[in-house]
């Protein structure tokens, strides 16, 4: 492995690399949950004759995503399940038709291509999936499996295909003699190597790797990752490497994009992203990984709640509903502690968290007592001032009365809706500490230093 390429400052790359290889511009992919002729049709109203209406409910799986990948580099794409990583990958390859936006592959807009041209371009872009078992036909021997893409693209004759396949088996760390074996005769790691050989068979220059090592044991994962690095150097491959595992990304990637709920929230050079994360979501992700060191004393910042639905994502910054750094609305003059308490309370009510839930269910104790306890839980002895005090008091009343919905509504209206995080979609480039590639951190905390 040419380690000098990895350690060299980004931007200072080998002569033949560094050019933009793939460019993704404002790419979106929406799914409508009601496909089909009458799918979008819903019926409203009660009465005898329901009123038909068009339901335009769409899952915004990937929303306005832009990035580029340079020749020979590995772009890591990281995010939790459901964030849209895999959809993005498939849309980039035009395996899914984008709803909006463009993908330029070596300068050519994939949207304009079709038929034979697209088929020929597909030869240059391959994909490897997570589950090495289900991506191999159990009734075919691995030799013919690896030859399949070559056949599809009319490469070589039978004899040469077999020769190349045996050679590729060696390249990916298998025995050329394994040509006549069936997939079930291989272990998980070996099957993923078969997938690698198949992807490489048509001599692509771009491979999308969708969680390729997630199903593998640690030692096997390390072997496969090392092989992927060696193959990249040998064949000059460009990788889009998708993983939920930040450790793997840190090992394999040159630059990293972090996705949350269909959007890229941060994009930076690997070293920069891990050492100087500038988006609260990235910080939370990083602090959530248990480090393999019992002496590690870093305290974790826990994210509360679940990822919201991509059908109706939060306005402004999509992470704001869970963000520990949500910005206070400008109209209140709050200390940090006060704002923390208000934010926690607002979220607890919104999520109907156990503390709120327990109040609602408790019918034995007098409301005044419940109310005092509730206030104590979130605000301690602190008293708030002026308008905020009135709002919090009113919300507490509503919770104790059991009208959580009204309390939620009041708190959201007062403390969330006017925050810049809810009003504007963030998009900022920030200062680098490591390397000199652009560091994008889409968080309003950077609104002043952008």
């Amino acid at each position: 492995m040419s380690s000098d390429r990895r350690t060299a400052p980004a931007g200072d790359r080998e002569p033949d690399s560094g050019q933009t290889f793939l460019e993704v511009e404002g790419l979106s992919k929406y799914f409508s949950g009601n496909d089909g002729l009458f799918g979008p049709l819903t019926f409203e109203g009660e009465g005898l004759v329901p009123r038909p209406a068009l339901d335009r409910q769409r899952v915004r799986a990937v929303d306005d995503v832009s990035f580029e990948i340079r020749q020979g580099e590995t772009l890591g794409l990281v995010g939790e399940s459901g964030c849209g990583k895999s959809t993005l990958a498939r849309t980039v390859l035009k395996l899914l038709e984008p709803t909006d936006g463009a993908v330029y592959f070596k300068g050519r807009n994939l949207a304009d291509t079709g038929g034979e041209e697209l088929r020929r371009m597909r030869k240059d872009m391959q994909i490897i999936f997570q589950d090495p078992q289900s991506s191999l036909d159990p009734r075919m021997k691995v030799g013919p499996i690896i030859e399949e893409p070559m056949k599809a693209h009319g490469m070589l004759d039978d004899e040469d295909r077999e020769a190349r396949t045996r050679e590729l088996l060696g390249k990916v760390g298998l025995d050329p003699q394994h040509y006549n074996r069936y997939p079930h005769q291989f272990s998980g790691g070996q099957r993923q190597r078969v997938n690698l050989a198949r992807a490489l068979s048509v001599n692509p220059d771009f491979i999308v790797c969708d969680e390729p090592t997630s199903a593998l044991d640690a030692s096997i994962q390390a072997q496969v990752l090392n092989t992927m690095n060696e193959l990249q150097d040998e064949f000059g491959l460009t990788y889009l490497f998708i993983s939920h595992d930040l450790s793997v990304i840190r090992y394999i990637a040159d630059r990293v994009a972090v996705m949350y709920l269909g959007e890229i929230v941060e994009l930076a050079d690997k070293e920069e992203l891990f050492e100087n994360p500038e988006h609260p979501y990235t910080e939370a992700l990083l602090s959530a990984i248990p480090a393999p060191d019992p002496r590690s004393t870093e305290t974790r910042s826990l994210l509360e709640g679940d990822v919201p639905s991509p059908i109706d994502p939060p306005s402004g910054c999509r992470f704001r509903t869970r963000c520990p750094k949500l910005i206070a609305p400008p109209e209140y003059d709050l200390s940090d502690d006060e704002w923390d308490a208000i934010r926690d309370f607002t979220r607890a009510v919104d999520r109907r968290s156990p503390a709120i839930d327990a109040i609602e269910a408790d019918e034995d104790r007098p409301p005044a007592e419940l109310r005092r306890d509730l206030r104590g839980t979130f605000f301690g002895d602190a008293s708030l001032r002026g308008e905020t005090e009135d709002i919090v008091e009113e919300a507490l009343d509503l919770v104790v009365e059991g009208d959580i919905e009204a309390a939620d509504d009041l708190l959201q209206r007062s403390f969330v809706d006017s925050s810049i995080c809810a009003r504007e979609v963030p998009a900022y480039d920030v200062e680098n500490e490591h390397g000199d590639v652009v560091h994008r951190a889409n968080c309003h905390l950077h609104r002043d230093d952008a």
């Binding site: 490469m155 640690a218 793997v248 602090s287 959530a288 393999p292 974790r300 826990l302 679940d306 839930d357």
Partner: protein, 378 residues
């Protein structure tokens, strides 16, 4: 911690699977113990025998498998134990000891009530056609001698305890209406509902996202503080081990090769397998230039290598390692209770130093060179 009472004692446990291809020695002489309030890790790669080991403890091993030797004690009760080996030797059927609990007693007194188990995939542990509430309620009724309304109250309280929002509104939801993290919380609630003294957690966070995993680990920490429950934590993730475990057993091919406190395991590593495992991990906290994975794959447990089972992949292997089988012993220069099954340690006197190194048997496979792009054979 060491002064606390031992609640689970596993001694030389052996479980075999009698398959058509031969006898698989899935668990082969495993010993460890768990003390009150402690989290003990069982770590290793797939096929190491971790899950079979915990199933054996719970006597949940099914045909064609069977626990064939060793002893499992929980508090003062014998969960498993056979009569001493008779003159008949290996082949002879050994009788279960009289004091060993019957299947009925296991069901009635132990499982769920004293020892609860949490599996990796919450969807498989929950019945998709019953509501979450009814499942946990039934479980409580069965194990705690309460009925109806009371069981429901305990269920709601426990669900709230594990951080499920809107419990009453969601009580009658089905498992598929919960997210993965919430389902795992439901299982934890179910495990806790009967206030067991020991919870066996078999890869409980493996299927979860890191932020959700962090929530669950945090919850376990919190619950352990409150209830002082002991855990056997089965995992392949060294990060999770470092995070939650007090003591750790590293398994390889059915055997425990190293046993130590979490701190010693990571910082005073004794066994070459443990070291290789740690070296093959990509790190979240620093950039690693090149991973140094263990070569090859774990051999089949059906016909394990002679001597030390790791010798075929071990960078330190010498001829003696293939000839003699090491048992896990107190390490000569390790802390108390740091046990290791490797001849490198001075606790062994089998002539490792004088023995000749052996080459590990695996080939890298990268020596092949592709001469031209369009597939010329070598």
């Amino acid at each position: 911690m060491s002064t606390r009472e031992t609640i689970l004692e596993v001694e030389n446990l052996k479980t075999k699977f009698f398959t058509e291809e031969g006898v698989v020695r899935a668990v082969d002489g495993v010993s460890f113990d768990v003390r009150q309030g402690e989290i003990v890790g069982l770590v290793g790669e797939s096929g190491a025998g971790k899950s079979v080991a915990v199933q054996s403890i719970m006597r949940l091993v099914e045909e064609p498998g069977a626990v064939v030797g060793g002893e499992v004690r929980f508090k003062d009760r014998l969960l498993f134990g056979l009569e001493d080996e008779t003159a008949g030797g290996e082949g002879a059927e050994r009788r279960e000891r009289d004091e060993m609990l019957t299947d009925e007693e296991m069901r009635q007194d132990i499982r769920g009530r004293e020892i609860a188990i949490i599996f990796q995939d919450p969807m498989e542990s929950l019945n998709p056609v019953y509501t979450v509430g009814s499942q946990i309620e039934e479980f409580i009724e069965l194990n705690r001698d309460v009925t109806g309304e009371e069981a429901r109250e305990i269920a709601i309280e426990t669900l709230r305890d594990v951080g499920i929002p809107e419990v009453e509104a969601r009580y009658d939801d089905y498992p598929n209406q919960f997210s993965g993290g919430m389902r795992q919380r439901v299982l934890i609630a179910m495990a806790l509902a009967c206030e067991p003294s020991l919870i066996i957690a078999d890869e409980p966070t493996t299927a979860l996202d890191v932020t959700v995993e962090a929530q669950i680990l945090d919850l376990v920490d919190d619950l352990q503080d409150r209830y002082d429950t002991s855990f056997v934590w089965v995992t392949h993730d060294m990060g999770v081990v470092a995070e939650v475990c007090d003591r750790v057993n590293v398994m390889y091919l059915g055997e425990v090769v190293e046993q130590a406190t979490a701190n010693d395991l990571f910082h005073e590593t004794k066994h070459p397998y443990t070291r290789s495992l740690l070296d093959s991990l990509p790190r979240p906290d620093r950039t690693v230039e090149e991973l140094d994975p263990i070569e090859g794959v774990m051999p089949e447990a059906i016909n394990p290598p002679s001597g030390c089972r790791f010798h075929t992949r071990c960078p330190e292997a010498r001829e003696v390692c293939a000839a003699v089988e090491p048992d896990a012993r107190q390490s000569a220069d390790g802390a108390d209770d740091h046990r290791v099954a490797c001849f490198i340690d001075d606790a062994f006197d089998v002539g490792y130093e004088e023995s000749l190194p052996i080459e590990s048997e695996t080939g890298g496979g990268f020596e092949a060179s592709l001469t031209s792009g369009e597939g010329e054979s070598r």
